[in-house]
């Protein structure tokens, strides 16, 4: 039994579910039949919630964080507005989340996804796959290079358009910190119109998903840069846990 670990692994702060989108958001139509009708059951975090899988650089390929070059088929790089996205992954206490896997996926410059279910008329780019990943460094920093995805229409209200966005998946250090979200681009006029973004009740929560243009980090004659910081749940101290041997 590996119960020793649990005594120094504090619980995570409660998730503020009034800050996250609720399950039932009828303006986003698919949520209507995919949202639980009953209340969530509160569960104490035991060892399985306080731990999570570990991924290292050995799990990555060298081009995994370069979406401009990781799907080249005709010898050319992907077409579109070249951007580097960078930022830090922190917890709610402001501590860096080190060595955590971050996965991203997105449409190409014309808003077309390389997925068998996407039949939008905008063409695929033969040199763009739309899939990337990286691991944060000791300071919680990450970066990847890509092309800015285009907006695209979808069957919700005939038709809604998604703003340009990049999907993010993060593991943190425990299953309780797991998070999947979407990043948007500063100044996009589609942001206030999007039924998926408006599932988030609080305007300042939406602002956390909008990457800011970062001209200070711009790479001359190469790429624009956007900054996107991510906050995962914080791990609290273990003050008076029920320890068989006492505190």
């Amino acid at each position: 039994m590996s119960d020793q670990g649990q005594d120094h692994l504090g619980e995570f702060t409660r998730r503020d579910r009034a800050w996250h989108p609720p399950a039932y958001t009828p303006q986003y139509k698919t949520s209507v039949l995919r949202s639980p009708g009953k209340a969530l059951v509160s569960l104490r975090q035991s060892i399985g919630e306080r731990t999570g899988p570990v991924f290292g650089h050995g799990d990555l390929d060298p081009l995994d964080n370069d979406l401009i070059r990781n799907y080249i088929t005709t010898g050319e790089e992907a077409i579109g507005e070249r951007v580097i996205v960078h930022g830090r992954v922190l917890d709610e206490m402001g501590r860096p989340v080190k060595g955590t896997l971050l996965e991203v996926w997105q449409a190409n410059a014309g808003g077309r996804y390389r997925h068998r279910n996407d039949r939008y008329l905008a063409p695929l780019d033969p040199n763009f796959g739309g899939c990337g990943r990286c691991v944060t460094d000791e300071d919680g920093r990450y970066f990847f290079r890509t092309i800015k995805p285009g907006p695209y229409p979808w069957m919700n209200h005939n038709s809604d358009w998604r703003p340009s966005h990049i999907h993010f998946s993060l593991f943190g250090t425990a299953f309780a910190q797991r998070l999947v979200t979407q990043m948007y681009f500063e100044g996009d006029p589609l942001i206030p119109l999007c039924p998926i973004i408006s599932t988030i009740p609080d305007r300042s929560a939406v602002d956390m998903l909008v990457a800011k243009l970062d001209m200070g980090e711009m790479v001359p004659f190469d790429s624009l840069v956007y900054r996107f910081d991510i906050v995962l749940r914080g791990r609290r101290s273990t003050f008076f846990e029920n320890r068989p041997e006492g505190n």
Binding site: L33, L43, L209
Partner: protein
């Protein structure tokens, strides 16, 4: 004013193309080394080999054919992600539902008992997360096993579910047949048979 912390980045749906980033081969992307993330334990990992399979159903009784699921569990001794484990058992897996039928399956080992917050044993279980189009923040549930009824009856997490008949929604049922023991675990997002989802 209460003490202010940073706010957590809000969740958004994984969307219908979640596979591009999380299961590239499923989406039709063939560049990355093919990973069989639904196989947590091949041969050589100590423990009883099992298969867990099921379908996720929406509120109208239709299968989710675009859902992605992640499993997290202890090894056969009840240790999570034990440092120095040389068997290759990470304890984590990921799978996409079949695009036609909605069936998904993990190949793994039966987890050992793990401690509850006060040290009491928990019945063997796996944590399961669901991500999909239409799900704004992932759903968290647990899979228990119907051939461990005595342990299930005193499991602290199951007992924290106030309505006793809802506990049954977390118990996977062993399927008849030879070969690797197979457990069926269907998830109902909504309605009379609704699965228990946790806030933890």
């Amino acid at each position: 004013m209460p003490v202010q912390y940073l706010k957590e980045t809000p969740s958004q749906t994984g969307g219908p193309y979640v596979h591009i980033g999380c299961l590239p081969a499923f989406a039709g992307l063939n560049r990355r080394t093919q990973e069989k993330l639904h196989v947590l334990a091949g041969g050589g990992v100590p423990g009883e080999q099992i298969r867990i399979e099921g379908v996720v159903w929406d509120g109208s009784g239709h299968p989710l054919r675009d859902v992605m699921l992640e499993l997290w569990q202890a090894d056969s001794t009840g240790a999570y992600n034990a440092p120095g484990d040389t068997s290759g058992f990470r304890g984590w897996g990921r799978v996409g539902a079949d695009a036609e039928t909605g069936l998904w399956a993990f190949e793994t080992i039966r987890p050992g008992a793990t401690p509850w917050v006060d040290g009491r044993p928990q019945a063997p279980h796996c944590s399961l997360l669901l991500f999909a189009r239409g799900i704004n923040i992932h759903l968290h549930t647990r899979i228990y096993f119907d051939d461990r009824a005595d342990a299930n009856a005193v499991d602290p997490a199951l007992l924290s579910i106030e309505l006793a008949d809802r506990r049954q929604t977390l118990i996977a049922t062993r399927q008849p047949g030879d070969g690797i023991p197979t457990f069926r675990f269907d998830v109902h997002l909504q309605g009379a048979q609704e699965t228990v989802f946790f806030d933890c």
